[in-house]
């Protein structure tokens, strides 16, 4: 269970310690403190192909012996598209699988009239779609990642919210492949399985599978990269990252729920559920985060500064983003940059004149379903977690609270989630 189960959501403290062991270098506080201009020596034994282009060494963290994480440097880019080389990575093995695309086959079996196997060339014959969608790890923004009581104070946005990225994905709608195979009446769930050593596997409802899921072979105009599932991956738009099975090899249509990788159990015991654990979240709620200025940065000086960030929702498109510069007392609407697409990152900007006084900047997303991003207090109240307990960062999944940043009078910017 450990490596792919709750252990994969191991929080940064242990991760950094292990990274330090793996890289033979001091980690943790060093890269945490330096923020966007970090030149820390945190790295893992595996690197994406062109890691050197983007100074990738500071992106990688070995989370435990069989799990690697790369964080997208959100503070460093504009627009909504994450270059493939900067896309976050949650690797469930210690290495990137090397798969011969010519030999690779995707099978569809189970409750279908015609069990089929598809080569990559077969898939490229079929009608394709290209759609822009975010992918976000279910542990992204994990409250414990904000912990101000440790050496990670001031953790930059990259390490708090960087387990998400947004790309143009190209591939075949899963509905087309299921139609080729002919789904039988009574089927209700679809299990996917990867070809990597641990055969990462996940189950989604059939209704979602035929709605908007994609068997993707392309990302941002090129073939998938090895760290993103080459030659094939599943795209499950708007849902937690673990659904998006990489190295996609098998799809089985079934009439009952399966839990092959034993995941999605690591959540908070909730008083509103009688102390039980909510498991199997599906869709992300409305979210947003200011990426500049953000934790670890320094303000360029008094006067005009553009606030910018990302907003997104698993439920649809972003309808509006509000920004507050007084910690949520008053709000003004931000500008949304086109394109504003469903289940995709949306870039927002907000004009601000900083007067040199302490300020708390925070953004709030409303999606086109009318759902509004909660504050951390609202989120915890909804989760049945007491105000007292909520002051301490707990380890949680499926977290979509607003992210406040505190701008100090000296121009330094700090994570204010718990202060």
């Amino acid at each position: 269970m450990e490596s792919n189960g709750s252990g994969r959501r191991r929080f940064l403290k242990q991760a950094a310690a292990l990274a330090g062991v793996a890289a033979g270098a001091g980690a943790g506080a060093e890269w945490a403190a330096r923020g966007q201009s970090a030149g820390s020596s945190v790295k893992s034994e595996v690197q994406p192909n062109d890691a050197h282009i983007h100074g990738d060494e500071r992106r990688g963290v070995r989370r435990n012996i069989s799990h690697i994480t790369y964080f997208t440097p959100l503070q460093d880019y504009a627009g909504i598209i994450t270059p493939a080389s900067l896309h976050f990575v949650q690797l469930h093995t210690s290495y990137f699988p090397v798969i011969d695309a010519q030999q690779h086959r995707l099978t569809i079996h189970g409750m279908v009239d015609r069990p089929l196997s598809f080569s990559v060339d077969d898939l490229k014959r079929l009608p394709s779609v290209s759609r822009i969608h975010f992918v976000e790890c279910q542990a992204n923004g994990n409250p414990q990642g904000h912990d101000n009581g440790t050496e990670y104070t001031g953790l930059p946005v990259q390490y708090v919210w960087g387990m998400m990225s947004c790309s143009e994905w190209t591939g075949v709608p899963l509905s087309v492949l299921l139609n080729e195979a002919g789904v039988q009446p009574g089927a209700s769930w679809v299990v996917s399985e990867g070809a990597e050593a641990g055969k990462w596997s996940h189950t989604i409802p059939l209704a979602k599978a035929v709605d908007d899921c994609i068997v993707a072979y392309g990302q941002n105009g090129e073939s998938l990269r090895p760290e993103q599932g080459y030659p094939l991956r599943l795209l499950v738009p708007g849902w937690e990252g673990l659904n998006n099975v990489k190295y996609l090899k098998h799809i089985k249509v079934v009439d009952h729920f399966l839990d092959p990788s034993g995941v999605n159990h690591a959540t908070i015991a909730r008083a509103d559920l009688g102390g039980k654990y909510r498991w199997y979240h599906f869709q992300w709620g409305p979210k947003s985060v200011i990426t500049r200025p953000s934790g670890g940065m320094a303000m360029p000086g008094k006067g005009y500064v553009q606030i910018t960030g990302l907003a997104w929702s698993g439920g649809g498109a972003v309808r509006k983003v509000d920004v507050s510069t007084d910690g949520g007392k008053t709000w003004k609407e931000a500008k949304l940059q086109a394109p504003v697409l469903p289940k995709a990152h949306t870039r927002f900007t907000f004009d601000w004149a900083w007067d040199g006084e302490e300020a708390v900047i925070v953004s709030r997303c409303t999606d086109d379903q009318g759902e509004v991003q909660p504050s951390i207090a609202e989120l915890y109240r909804n989760w049945g977690i007491s105000d007292e307990a909520a002051k301490k960062p707990v380890r949680g999944q499926h977290y979509n609270a607003m992210q406040p940043w505190r701008v100090a009078r000296d121009g330094s910017v700090h994570n204010a989630m718990f202060s």
Partner: protein, 190 residues
């Protein structure tokens, strides 16, 4: 032909709207048919009821030996934690009850379904060489870890019949008991 046949079955289509959506599309006849034998060679997915479990068996005692050789290097002595977090909470005869602290959720006691533990170890462990354990070895490691968690007795043997019947102590600790879609009732916050 297949499409028109399905259109003659409106009751079934109404009962499964998602399926109807998929089958209203044209077919392209791309892909190679798979035989049942081929499917058998790669289909190791195991449902929560364990109907697909393969033959084999293992006892806690046998599992202790396999664990020491193949698992202990990462999971620590008796699965109590090492490079990675603990697999064991509670003790033989004394399963953990009640809520779980943050660092206790890696223990098998936390997991609601016994069969999932078998499937996961079979597909993904040991991390250095996943899939290298025989069914007997997987059954025995599961038996050993369940015994150390206080879930089964030292004399119990795990096989395709006994494993699905193991009562996990946290079986009722999750909401909903079995995932449903769409979520019902809708969570207050997802």
């Amino acid at each position: 032909m297949r499409c028109s046949l399905n259109l003659l079955l409106p009751v079934i289509i109404l009962a499964a709207p998602a399926v109807a959506l998929a089958q209203s599309q044209p077919r392209f006849n791309v892909g190679t048919p798979l035989s049942q034998q081929e499917i058998k060679s790669f289909d190791f997915m195991i449902g929560l009821e364990g109907k697909e479990l393969p033959p084999g068996h293992g006892s806690p005692k046998e599992g202790a030996a396999v664990f020491a050789k193949r698992c202990q290097v990462c999971h620590g002595l008796n699965g109590e934690g090492g490079v990675v977090r603990r697999l064991v909470l509670g003790s033989p005869g004394n399963p953990h009850r009640g809520t779980f602290k943050q660092d206790e959720k890696s223990a098998l006691s936390y997991y609601p379904h016994a069969v999932v533990v078998w499937d996961y170890i079979n597909r993904a462990m040991p991390a250095s060489n996943p899939g290298s354990l025989t069914p007997d070895e997987v059954y025995s490691v599961v038996a050993f870890l369940f015994y150390r968690n206080g879930i089964i007795q030292e004399t119990d043997v795990m096989d395709a019949k006994t494993l699905p019947k193991v009562e996990m102590p946290n079986r009722n600790g999750f909401v909903p008991a079995v995932p449903v879609y769409p979520p019902e009732p809708k969570p207050s916050w997802w």
